[in-house]
């Protein structure tokens, strides 16, 4: 009885779909537990130190358009956090009047609302000229 069951399970027409189902379930479990839409990062000023009070703008990127999805301010330690990202393809930009602005940083995620902490800080630089 057991050997028959094992023989059926090991058959490639059963084993391959089973593996796919397990992989899909595993992936979905990971998505559910890591999909709160949190985006964290740090903004550095022109002197390389954390920049407080900078405005960080999050934009949602589509094939052809970019649209603003929210703004937040950096804390004393230059850190910022968005908690309502619903996209898998966002852009971030930091700016502070009188100090300058950063380049736009594209953040690609593996699924919508994936929690992410930026590895590289947003670097605000003085405008040229």
């Amino acid at each position: 009885m057991r050997s028959t069951f094992l023989r059926i399970v090991r058959h490639r027409f059963v084993a391959v779909p089973l593996l796919i189902v397990v992989a899909v379930l595993g992936w979905n479990a990971y998505v559910v537990t890591h999909g709160d839409g949190i985006v964290r990062g740090v903004v550095l000023g022109p002197d390389g130190r954390p920049l407080a009070g900078a405005t960080v703008t999050m934009m949602e990127q589509n094939f052809t358009t970019n649209s603003d999805r929210g703004k937040t301010m950096t804390r004393e330690d230059g850190a910022f956090e968005f908690t309502d990202n619903r996209s898998h393809n966002i852009q971030l930009r930091a700016e502070k009047p009188g100090v300058g602005r950063s380049d736009v940083v594209v953040v690609r995620l593996y699924f919508r609302a994936q929690d992410v902490t930026l590895r590289e800080p947003l670097r605000v630089t003085k405008p040229a000229g």
């Binding site: 490639r12 027409f13 052809t64 898998h88 393809n89 593996y110 699924f111 919508r112």
Partner: protein, 276 residues
């Protein structure tokens, strides 16, 4: 003796070299599609890069989210499963009938063979009208209906059924099995290669079917993957990477199914080929 062995080794090596060259030519386009889907680089760039530079999976994720890909996938899977189930059952019934002797059997085979010469495009208007009369437009059943039975697959079954010893069927009949039971309990278990061939062919044909879904589907949410690909092309012309990722996502299930069933598939196609 040694000379003969050396000659055989050379022959063997040159044969494998030739097969490698042919395989390379066959697989190169697939590799190119896969590479472009991972890098999104311009396919017309010169000199062409063989090794992918900074590959990533984000084009696949774009395809998944920017268009209703899961819905298209579901539609294609449902239509293909319906088509496979119908082909495996109906073709077996038809093939078993053709292995029996009855008046007009030759005429039926001739008609079936000649029907193979008629392209589907010529019958598409009556097929559409019948589907509409049945109220099956914009439905899974309507999408799968024309692929419910294919003549080639009937003949694949027929060749396999004819290889089953006549005495076995007679013994089953003496034991009290009905014709349907003979098909289910004797013919199909002894014709796994033909079943696999039917599964693979019906899956590939229904999976890649473009013209029929284009005609019977009006609701965008009932579109299948080939229609989705054409819609994707018309929406987003400059997204090379995402487009190729879409192609890979459409191709992958068919390739996977073929790789799983290739042994039975080839055996099914060649069974009966050497029959006297």
């Amino acid at each position: 003796m040694t000379r003969a062995r050396t000659w055989r080794a050379w022959k063997h090596a040159s044969l494998h070299l030739a097969m490698l060259a042919v395989s390379f030519c066959m697989l190169l386009p697939f590799y190119w599609v896969l590479k472009t889907s991972l890098t999104g680089e311009n396919i017309f760039v010169y000199p062409p890069g063989i090794v992918p530079v900074h590959p990533h999976l984000f084009y696949y994720i774009d395809v998944w989210y920017y268009i209703p890909f899961p819905r298209y996938l579901l539609n294609s899977v449902v239509v293909s499963v319906l088509s496979i189930a119908a082909n495996v059952v109906f073709n077996a019934l038809a093939a078993y009938a053709l292995t029996r002797h009855f008046r007009g059997r030759g005429a039926v085979i001739t008609i079936l063979l000649s029907c193979m010469m008629i392209p589907f495009q010529t019958t598409i208007v009556p097929a559409y009208l019948i589907t509409a009369k049945l109220g099956l437009l914009d439905s899974y059943l309507g999408l799968a209906l024309p692929t419910f039975s294919t003549i080639i697959c009937i003949f694949v079954y027929k060749a396999s059924f004819e290889a089953v010893p006549r005495s076995l069927i007679d013994a089953a009949r003496i034991d009290g099995l009905s014709e349907l039971q003979i098909i289910r309990r004797i013919m199909l278990p002894l014709s796994t290669s033909a079943v696999a061939t039917n599964v693979v062919l019906s899956f590939i044909w229904s999976w890649n079917n473009f013209l029929w879904p284009l005609i019977v589907v009006r609701d965008p949410l009932m579109q299948t993957l080939p229609l989705g690909l054409s819609r994707f092309l018309s929406y987003h012309e400059n997204t090379t990477g995402a487009l190729y990722a879409f192609c890979i996502m459409v191709l992958a299930p068919g390739i996977l199914l073929f790789l799983m069933a290739q042994k039975e598939f080839i055996r099914g196609l060649t069974s009966g080929a050497t029959k006297g």
